[in-house]
Amino acid sequence: MSNPTNPTQQPAAKANTAAPAPASPTPAQAQPPLPPAPEGMLNVFVDGILLHVKKGSTVMQACTLAAKEIPHFCYHDRLSIAGNCRMCLVEIEGMPKPIASCHWPAAEGMKIRTDSKLTAEARKGTMELLLINHPLDCPICDQGGECALQDQAVAYGSDRSHFHEFKRAVDDKDIGHKIKTVMTRCIHCTRCVRFATELAGVEEFGATGRGENMQIGTYVEQALQSELAGNMIDLCPVGALTSAPYAFTARPWELKRTSSVDLLDAVGTPVTVDTRAGQVMRVLPEECDEINEEWLTDAARFSYDALSTNRLTTPLIGGKPATWPQAFEAIKKALKSSTPATTAGLMGNLQSAEDAYAFKAFLTQTLGTQNLDSRPAGTLPNSAFLTTPLKSFDTAEAVLLIGCNPRLEAPLLNIRLRRAALKRRMPVYAIGTQMNLAYPHTHLGETPEALTQHATTFKAHAALQILISQSVLQRPDASAILAAAAKLGTVNILADTTGRTTTHSIGALPQGKGNGTSGILAAWQKGQLKTLFIHGEDTASAMDVKSGKGTLIYLGTHNTPLAKAADVVLPTAAWAEKSGLYMNGEGRLLGADQATLPPLNAKEDWKIYRALSAELGNPLPFNTLSQLRTLIAQANPAFAPANLGQITAAQRPEFRIPNSEFRLSTKPFTAPVEKYYLRNEYLKQSQTMHAIQAESGSANLGPQPGAPMPLPTKPAKPKGRGAAHA
């Protein structure tokens, strides 16, 4: 086509154009001149009310400031502006056409009308057009009750349609176990496409076809590979993309909402746990600019079926169901034959501050042992924390990853890194296995020696942020790596879970001369330990404890291999079933509420220690949760209620550089995470996670053979002499 007559194509305003508002008022508007707005601000009228808005604001932002709701679908704060739904049209005085407020810049003296006839008609018109091909199948749609289209149709639409033709129908797409699609409902706002492209960095979602035949999908039908795909469900304003595991299970108005925390990585995303009749129906992210913005990883979103799978619901003795008194009796008997030196305790990676405090108090005070730990075997006695807050990575100068794959270890941190790497061209260097981070980075080698080889590259950056995976701390040359890294920039250690950093902050660590995890496990394997308490998973495995001779007491939520190996099993509450305080990877205190009750005979963890200590004749000094929390705050002021939501740097265990007599080894780093969706015992309990892992090839996730994406360079000189690439 040659351009159809388009008055808006040119920047200069012609008499009848909708080009940017002329700064000078037309004679009809000639009024006493407005006093100039404060520096950097503009005078704008919204429905006749004078406002000052920041220069560069959009009309929609001005309206929001004036508390005028602007209906919209395609616009989203954290995505680029597409301006395609045309629901946000408003009238601007002096312009012939309504304009899309989501992208139109506010201008000095602009008079916006959200209450005019033209605005109302524009909204009504767009709404009618949105609905003509929409199936209007709300009664069978999972989005019903929380659907932007439904709400806005009621508020701004018409009560009847003039449409008497046939409706369009679109084939549903099978895109895996995460998202259920009903594509006829799609209103083509492209939020999902923009999320996949801009934030997740996986260009696997897009539009094909044009006009009425435009369809959203994965081009070639395949399972979504992004580890963040679930966010598209939240973004989709209609019921086109809905959660597959949640499909047809509940209606939003039946759900009880509880605030909680996702423990599965070090980000500690605040989440809402929705329950119905005591069952967790779904997990959604909450909004927090400092932590998760508003995203959630798929592992956290879709793994809640683990809460009702393979649970321990009653104490077990030798694998046989028993009552609590019987179980306590068995423990008492075992403890009779052991001394503090032959007793030890290990804590897993999904426990709360209360669990850790009670665990530590029980072992040190009631049993008097010094042998306890909550870190994986061999980990250096270092705090596993980010010394830089998550949000500060947005403005980092350069980042060096050592044995760390943020895309799999902390996908939400990876979003920040990706944005910085693409928008600001922040250099990202990586030492470790080859990986696909979804943004350009420079791979500098697989062994720690790269640290010294490329020292000049790193030294060119005044403020280099170094991210080291917690798993690196288990290497024999960990001290040397840390020492070398500390010379180059700020060292941040990325823990595997928020539970890990929580128990660490509480100090569930070896006391005095006591053994740490590797010492405890070695002693157990040699038969030197008489009693071993293991509370939770992923610090010790069933393999580690196979050969011991003493009594293994397991406290946990699921019937895992470790539980099966234990002599006595005490069922505890999983994360959604207890109130807990947590400290995420950056040292921020977070609180979770109890969303539901532990199943059957399972008990909250701290209550078990309290009861058991009383049984042993040496009761711990707390009877209620609030007493316990007071004690925690006394011992560890970072956990005081006033600190909720804060990073308490002063209270965080200090980062120590171990003495560095050791040499950097030539052993290559290993991949910190092999199977993202099955990376810990809890996730392995989830059927959904198994299904998702099975459909996730290594195409986009995980190590990828071949060269990493190169840094953007200048385009190559055109070769052919004017010859077309046609």
């Binding site: 086509m1 040659s2 351009n3 159809p4 007559t5 388009n6 008055p7 808006t8 194509q9 040119q10 920047p11 200069a12 909708a18 940017p20 502006i81 597409a82 301006g83 395609n84 739904c85 045309r86 629901m87 049209l89 012939p96 056409k97 309504p98 899309a100 992208h103 810049p105 524009a122 018109g125 767009t126 009618e128 057009l129 949105l130 003509i132 091909n133 003039h162 449409f163 033709e165 369009r168 209103i187 083509h188 897009g206 539009a207 076809g209 044009r210 006009g211 009425e212 035949n213 435009m214 055109p718 002499r721 004017g722 010859a723 077309a724 690439h725 046609a726």
Partner: protein
């Protein structure tokens, strides 16, 4: 009194009919590339100033003054060199129904465009120019490519052209068959390898265009007219047409005429004269005329009475409530089923909507279906009002002007030929 016919020396496209040699030899024989060196040695500022005075207006439909458009592009100052490259993009995605002028330029006089690209790139400080040719013009694009190769060989393209120190490279890109890619920002998206969908404006391409760099997009005819305007005295161009509409223009005349033709004629020529003088007149005589689409399918129709008095230029047609568009004149005599034509045109828009904005994506198909139904006599007269109301829900509510262009013909039909529709509906009811 009728205007004189243009002589070859008055024309920008003397070989438009394809009579002579399209290659570089023929072009040079007609005076092409003569004086190119001098043009490349004059300050771009002066060229742009002359273009402004010539009141050359965009030939692709919008009719925006070219000199003005070019003046929006950043020019380097001694103390402020340009930080980003600039681009000139030629829009040869000619898809507007009825329009076929660029095609004849590409196949019979491609060097006019090549020379225009050289001068244009020079004026806009662009080292690279792109010509986006619609995918269906495969043969034409091959010929264009040959012309470009010839120009490279002759030293008119490439590094240091004719020793002036000016570098220009020109690339041809073939589209994939979407009408919307003729919209300038959709064209840029497509050129960048993305889905051809118009961009939000602002920002405008002059500031943020191809690959985020300053870009000017012009029609084939516009670019090709630049060198003759600059080489000749101002008067050579401005003596034709009314003020603000000067120059010559290619008119594509098709439909119910004896001799459908692409012809270069002076601007502001009376429509009737144009048809009778150059196209052999309306089949069945002027009195047999029913309606005329004056500027490609997206411009509203003129009825016979309007057609008799209107002058073919931007302002005169605007005054009649339509537009010059691409000056593709489609003549319909009384034997034509006008409603079928209009239904076919709305089918075209239905097929070509890019699908980005709600009103257009959902609405254009609806309009087409209504047109089908109503023009076949199915429906009620009340639906005519609904159809009109519907076009008003689509027009002016979208990112680009496609939806406007799709609605205007329907509105034009309802305005001028509502009685036709009504009588059909009544017949339909009777049956």
């Amino acid at each position: 009194m009728s205007l004189p016919r243009l002589q070859p020396q008055d024309m920008c496209f003397p070989n438009l009919a394809g009579a002579g040699d399209w290659g570089i030899k023929g072009y040079q024989k007609r005076g092409g590339y003569e004086g190119l060196k001098a043009l490349l040695q004059t300050a771009p500022k002066d060229h742009i100033e002359k273009l402004k005075q010539s009141s050359l207006r965009g030939r692709g439909g919008a009719g925006f003054p070219t000199g003005m458009k070019w003046s929006f592009m950043p020019q380097p100052a001694p103390d402020k060199p340009l930080t980003k490259p600039s681009y000139l993009v030629c829009n040869a995605d000619e898809g507007e129904p009825g329009t076929c002028k660029d095609r004849d330029i590409l196949r019979f006089d491609p060097h006019t465009l090549v020379e225009g690209m050289i001068v244009g790139c020079y004026c806009l400080n662009a080292k690279v120019g792109y010509i986006y040719v619609r995918g269906e013009y495969y043969d034409e694009s091959s010929r264009l490519n040959q012309a470009i190769q010839e120009a490279y060989k002759a030293g008119f393209l490439g590094k240091n052209i004719l020793g002036t120190g000016v570098d220009v490279d020109v690339h041809v890109h073939l589209g994939a068959g979407a009408y919307i890619c003729g919209e300038e920002t959709a064209l840029l998206e497509s050129l960048e390898g993305k889905k051809g969908q118009p961009r939000l404006k602002p920002p405008f391409p002059a500031g943020f265009g191809l690959y985020g760099c300053p870009t000017t997009i012009n029609n084939v005819e516009t670019i090709a007219q630049v060198p003759p305007i600059l080489k000749n005295p101002l008067e050579w161009f401005t003596r034709w047409g009314r003020p603000g509409n000067s120059g010559t223009k290619i008119f594509s005349i098709s439909g119910s005429v004896k001799n459908p033709i692409n012809v270069e004629a002076p601007m502001s020529i009376p429509l009737r004269e144009l048809i009778e003088e150059y196209a052999g007149g309306v089949t069945g005589g002027w009195s047999n005329l029913q309606a005329i689409i004056p500027g490609g399918s997206s411009t509203p129709m003129l009825n016979a009475e309007q057609s008799a008095r209107v002058l073919m230029d931007f302002d005169a047609l605007k005054a009649e409530g339509t537009g010059l568009g691409t000056a593709a004149i489609v003549v319909m005599n009384k034997q034509i089923d006008l409603l079928r034509v209009m239904t076919r045109i709305s089918h075209f828009y239905h097929h070509e909507s890019c699908g980005q904005c709600t009103p257009c994506r959902e609405g254009v198909g609806w309009v087409h279906r209504l047109m089908e139904r109503l023009s076949a006599g199915e429906g009620t007269p009340a639906e005519l009002d609904q159809l009109y109301a519907l076009t008003k829900k689509i027009e002016g509510r979208t990112i680009c002007a496609f939806a406007d262009g799709a609605m205007w013909p329907v509105q034009g039909t309802l305005k001028h030929f509502r009685n036709l529709l009504e009588s059909r509906l009544n017949k339909g009811e009777a049956a």
